[in-house]
């Protein structure tokens, strides 16, 4: 493989050793003194807790999602229960969050009229993703509700149905013409362009929406587990001088926790923004 080739070209032994170390961290292996529990994909498939074997099986991830949903309901119920014209601190925060979607996503991309039409969908997508992402760094929950494919996929399907509905409702002719036969292209080129446009609009869009969110959350979780598991291993299983390495991995773990908060907000914003962009492209008169 390419990496192997590069490794053998330059400093073969060192690089192979580094790679081996990296792989060793990613997969559970035995060490001489004590076990190192690296992160594994199995963490996203915990054992069932309720209704095992039915279509309503509940595991740890589903519970985490419930917590996120309850937190969301609580925050927005408290924040909008008694709204004042002159807002208090908490109401200001809630309003700021709602305004982020209303002004910066819906109104900016779709205009006042369409922005208002699709605001419930966009607001739901943004806050559902945000609250389920943020559980990845909440102590005790420690896993994002969006790191298992269900939520990203359902939201991507919602976005998909919404933009197709918006386009067809506005003008089916315009929608399909703009999506499949972009203007300003000589007709023979359509033989190539139309299939590409079809694949990118109707197939790639929901897949990228789903995978971008899910993979971000999976990788974030694996990184955090890797840093904190390494800290545990260095400090408690190896000890001695390795404690210094443990301090390093702990510092990285903390830094990446902050980074994960940023990613959580960013991914929620990106998901809602892309949904709005797709709706906007679908209702546009002409590209």
């Amino acid at each position: 493989m390419f990496v192997d080739a590069r490794a053998s070209l330059h400093a073969p032994k060192q690089e192979i050793a580094l790679l081996a170390n990296a792989v060793n961290l990613l997969v559970p292996i035995s060490t001489d003194d004590g076990e190192f529990h690296g992160p594994s994909i199995l963490e996203f498939f915990p054992g069932p807790l309720l209704f095992e074997g039915t279509d309503f099986e509940v595991n740890r991830i589903i519970l985490v999602r419930w917590v996120a949903v309850l937190a969301l309901l609580l925050v927005f119920w408290l924040g909008t229960r008694r709204m004042r014209v002159v807002p208090g601190r908490f109401q200001s925060l809630v309003e700021m969050g709602l305004d982020l979607v209303r002004v910066n996503i819906a109104d900016d991309l779709l205009g006042k009229k369409d922005g208002k039409r699709f605001l419930p969908i966009l607001t739901t997508i943004f806050f559902l993703v945000l609250f389920m992402n943020i559980t990845g760094v909440i102590p005790g929950l420690n896993i994002a509700g969006t790191s298992v494919i269900g939520v990203p996929l359902v939201l991507a399907i919602v976005a998909y149905i919404t933009f197709i509905y918006a386009g067809i409702k506005k003008s089916p002719k315009n929608f399909f013409k703009n999506s499949l036969f972009p203007s300003g292209v000589p007709w023979p080129v359509y033989i190539i362009v139309t299939p590409i446009e079809f694949i990118s609009t109707f197939i790639i869009r929901p897949i990228t929406l789903t995978l971008r969110l899910m993979m971000n959350m999976i990788v974030g979780h694996l990184l955090l587990v890797l840093f904190f598991a390494a800290t545990q291993f260095f400090v408690f299983n190896l000890g001695g001088w390795y404690t210094l390495l443990g301090a390093g991995t702990l510092a990285f773990g903390l830094a990446f926790t902050l980074f994960e908060i940023l990613v959580a907000v960013l991914q929620a914003y990106v998901f809602a923004l892309l949904t709005a962009v797709y709706i906007q492209l679908a209702v546009a008169e002409e590209h």
Binding site: A20, V27, F51, I62, R65, F76, L153, V154
Partner: protein, 189 residues
């Protein structure tokens, strides 16, 4: 080496689930979460937010209207005050003018009265003088006549008791006297 490690890792565990393939319960619970939150935002949060925004816009517009109203009132009051001030100035000017006119009129009247009075005094004085002159003339004439007749009677030794004659003589004498006086006056001139 890499492949070997990875193979060993995957073979060691049970069948690793593929994270890209969704389980049915995963999809069902995800949908439930989504629907709950969608209904919550759609039916509860966003309408309340909209109401609030409307109220806020109304409040701001109301305050602006109120401020406009106050501004308008202040301007009206200022205008009224200015108008009153101008009125008062005009009134004062008018009063001053009227006073001046009155003064002039009073002075003129006083002057007229004084002139009339003076004229009257002069006239009455002249009339009196004239009357006195006339009476003096009359008494003088009668006295002069009597004296002259007495004198003439003595001279001519004859009584000029006949009144008609005597009167004619006196008149002729006086006429001569007047003529000589007039001649003297004319000569003097």
């Amino acid at each position: 080496m890499l492949h070997a490690v990875l193979r060993a890792a995957t073979e060691g565990g049970e069948a690793t689930p593929n994270p890209v393939l969704p389980e049915s319960y995963d999809l069902i619970w995800s949908t439930v979460c989504f629907v709950i939150i969608l209904i919550f935002f759609w039916r509860y949060v966003l309408p309340r937010m909209q109401t609030l925004l409307d109220e806020r816009a109304e409040a701001i517009e109301g305050n602006i209207a109120k401020a406009d109203e106050a501004q308008r009132k202040a301007e009206a009051a200022l205008e009224e005050y200015t108008a009153q001030l101008a009125d008062a100035r005009a009134e004062a000017g008018r009063i001053r003018e009227a006073a001046r006119e009155d003064g002039k009129k009073i002075v003129a009247e006083a002057k007229d009265q004084a002139t009339t009075e003076a004229a009257r005094v002069t006239a009455s004085a002249q009339a009196q003088i004239e009357a006195e002159r006339q009476s003096a003339l009359v008494s003088l004439r009668s006295e002069v006549g009597t004296i002259a007749i007495d004198l003439a009677s003595g001279v001519i030794g004859e009584s000029l008791s006949d009144d008609a004659k005597a009167k004619a003589v006196v008149d002729r004498f006086l006429a001569d006297l007047e003529a000589s006086e007039q001649a003297a006056a004319g000569g003097k001139k």
